[in-house]
Amino acid sequence: MSPPPAVVIPVLAVAVAFAAWCLVDLARAGQVRYLPKWAWAVVICLSVPGGGLVYLIVGRAKPAAGVPPEAGVAEGAGMAAGGPLLAPPVPVSRVVIEVDQLTKRFGPVTAVDGLSFTVRPGHVTGFLGPNGAGKTTTMRVILGLDAPTSGRALVGGRRYQEIIRPLHVVGSLLDATAVHSGRTAWCHLLSVAHSNGIGRRRAVQVLEATGLAAVAGRRVGEFSLGMKQRLGIAAALLADPPVLIFDEPVNGLDAAGVRWLRQLFKAMAAEGRTVLVSSHLMSEIALTADHLIIIGRGGLLADTATGRFVSRTRQDVLVRSPRAGELAALLAARGAAVRPEGDDGLAVTGVAAPAIGDLAAGHGIAVHELVPRHGSLEQAYLDLTGESTDYRAMASAPEETAVP
C-alpha cells in the first residue's frame, strides 16, 4: 500500500526540514518576486519539496536599492549632517495638550498631585523636574498608558485612548530600551508602521533621516543606547505627527545626535507642532525649550517662558573697593540695595555697573573690581526645586554662589 517505513522516515524528515528552511529564508528575505510573502509560504507548505524549489528559483529577489537593510547611508550620516528634517507635505494642524487637575496615586504614593498645565503648538516646551517629580507618570497618563486617579489629560480635546491611529496625532518616545532584542530595527519599525496604516516607504524615510539605514537589518539587542534612542525617534516621526512627546530623549546620544535632536525640535516647533520634552537637566533643556513647565513632588512649580524664568534669577553687581564703607553709603543714598560681601566687597542690586563706576569716580573712590553677575538658569532651577526634591544627596547643601 505505501512504501516501507525505512524509506519514509528519512525522506519525510528531509522534506520537512527543507520546508522549514524555505520558510525561515522567506521570513528573513527582504523581498520576494511576483507573489506576496504569505502566498509563497502557502506554496511552500502545500507542495514540499516542489514548492520550496520553485520559491528558491523564482521567488527570491535581491533587495532593491533604497530598501534596508542592505542599502542606505552610512551610520550616523543623517544625524551628523543635520539630517533631512522630514518636511511635511501638508500644513501641520495645531494641537494642544491639556492636563487638567491630574492626580495619580500608586497605592500610598502620590506621583502626581492636582497638576494642571497646557502645552501649546509652535513652541518647544521643556518639562522639568527632579527625579521622582512625576514627569514620566504625567506623560504616561497623557499617552493613555496609566489611568489617572482623578483629573484628565487631553490631546487635541480628546483622551488619547479615543484617538484612532494615534501615531498620526502624537509621536512619542518614553523608553528607548523598550524594544524586543530579537527583532531587527527594520522589523520593529515596520510593525509600528503597520499598526497605524503607514507604508513601507515612509519607514525607509525615517530610518534614513535618523541615520539607521545601514544598521536596519541588525537585531536591536546589538544596539547601543544611542542607537536605540534613534530607533525610538524614528518610530515617533513615522506618521509625521503634529504633537511630539519625548521623555529624556538625549540619554545615550552622542554630541552630533544631541545637536540634531535640538535642531529637529526647533524645526518641528517652527512648523507649528507641539513639542513636549522632559528632562531632569536644566542645562540641556535651556538650549532647546522656549517654554518651561517645572514640577516637583507631583505639583506645578512654574509654567513660564524660558526668557522670563531667566529674568527671575538673581542679578547684581559685585564691587570691590578699599573704601567700601563710603561707597555703600553713597549707593544706599541712590536707592540701591547693598550687601557686604567679604572684607572689601559689596553686592549691589538696583544700580547698574556703569552707574556704580561713575559714582565711585565722581567721589574719587578707587574701584578694584566691578563685575555684573546674574544667576544661571541652572541655579534658578535648583532654587525653585530645592525644597521639592525627594532624593537629595546628603552632602549637597547648594551654596548661594552666582556664576558669572
Binding site: S2, R140, L145, S172, L174, S191, V192
Partner: protein, 271 residues
C-alpha cells in the same frame, strides 16, 4: 484642538475593517520577525515527528493487545500532544509576557490604545499560526504513523470513518491551547507565572482530576482540556465522557475563558 482637527492631522478616519487590518498586520509582523519562534517551531516539529516514528515502530512491533482492536490514532498523536502542544503554548504565552518584560507593550499600546483590539489581534494571529502549523503537523504525524503501521497490516486510511475529523481536530487543539496561552500571558504578564498557569490549564488539571475518588475523577475530568481533546482526536470516543460535540465546546471554552479574563483586566491596569 477639536475633533475635526484631529481627523485632519492624520488622514480620513479609517473604517473598522482598515483598523482591524492594521492591528492584525502589526501583530503578524511582530510574530514573524522573531527568529527564535521559527527555531522553536522547527525543533518542535522535528522532535514530534521523531517521537511519532518511534511510537509507531513500537506499536507495530508489539504483539496486538488481547482485548479488542487497538486504536491506531492514539499512537499517532502521542508525540504531538506533548512535543508540539507544549512549545507552541509557551510561544503563545510569550507574545504578551515578552512585551511586558521588555517594555515593548508600552510601544504597542501607544500605537494601538484600544487594548482589547490588541488582545483580539494577538489571539487571532497566534491562533491562526498555531492552527496552520497544527494541521500540517497533525497530517504529517498521521501519515507517518499509518505508513509505518500499514507495513505491519494494521494501519488506518484517512477515509476511515472519523479519521479525517480526528486529524483535523488535532490542529484545532493546538490552536485552542495557543489562544489559551495568549490569554494567560495577558492576565499574568510575567513569563514564569503565565507558563505555569497555561501548563496547568492544558495538562495538570486533568492529572489532578485523575487522583480524585471515583465518580468525581470522571465527572470533573471530562471538563478538562486534555480529556476533551482526547475525545476529539480519536476514532472511538469513550462512552463515559462527553460526546465529541460537547467536547469541542469544552475545548473552545478554556481559551474563551482565558480571553474573557484578559479582556476584563487589560483595560483596567496600567501598562
Amino acid at each position: 484642538m477639536t475633533a475635526p482637527q484631529i481627523a485632519a492631522a492624520g488622514r480620513a478616519v479609517p473604517s473598522r475593517l482598515a483598523r482591524a487590518r492594521d492591528v492584525l498586520a502589526f501583530e503578524w509582523t511582530k510574530l514573524r520577525s522573531v527568529r527564535s519562534n521559527y527555531w522553536t517551531l522547527l525543533i518542535a516539529a522535528l522532535v514530534t515527528l521523531g517521537v511519532t516514528a518511534i511510537v509507531a515502530q513500537a506499536t507495530a512491533s508489539a504483539p496486538p493487545p488481547p482485548g479488542g482492536p487497538m486504536n491506531p490514532l492514539t499512537s499517532s498523536f502521542l508525540g504531538y500532544g506533548e512535543y508540539t502542544v507544549l512549545p507552541v503554548t509557551v510561544l503563545s504565552v510569550l507574545t504578551f509576557t515578552s512585551e511586558y518584560a521588555s517594555g515593548l507593550i508600552r510601544t504597542t499600546l501607544t500605537a494601538v490604545p484600544q487594548r482589547r483590539a490588541v488582545l483580539a489581534a494577538k489571539a487571532a494571529v497566534t491562533g491562526t499560526a498555531a492552527l496552520t502549523a497544527g494541521e500540517l503537523l497533525a497530517f504529517a504525524c498521521f501519515l507517518l504513523t499509518q505508513a509505518i503501521l500499514s507495513g505491519h497490516h494494521h494501519g488506518l486510511a484517512l477515509s476511515h470513518p472519523g479519521a479525517l475529523r480526528a486529524v483535523l481536530a488535532a490542529g484545532v487543539v493546538l490552536a485552542a491551547c495557543a489562544v489559551a496561552g495568549v490569554g494567560a500571558g495577558a492576565v499574568i504578564r510575567h513569563t514564569a507565572g503565565a507558563i505555569a498557569a497555561a501548563v496547568t490549564m492544558i495538562y495538570l488539571l486533568a492529572v489532578l482530576c485523575l487522583v480524585l475518588p471515583h465518580p468525581w475523577n470522571v465527572r470533573l475530568g471530562r471538563f478538562t482540556l486534555p480529556v476533551a481533546a482526547y475525545q476529539l482526536v480519536t476514532v472511538h470516543p469513550r462512552p463515559g465522557l462527553l460526546p465529541p460535540g460537547l467536547s469541542l465546546l469544552v475545548l473552545a471554552g478554556w481559551p474563551a475563558a482565558a480571553l474573557l479574563a484578559a479582556a476584563l483586566v487589560i483595560t483596567r491596569r496600567d501598562a
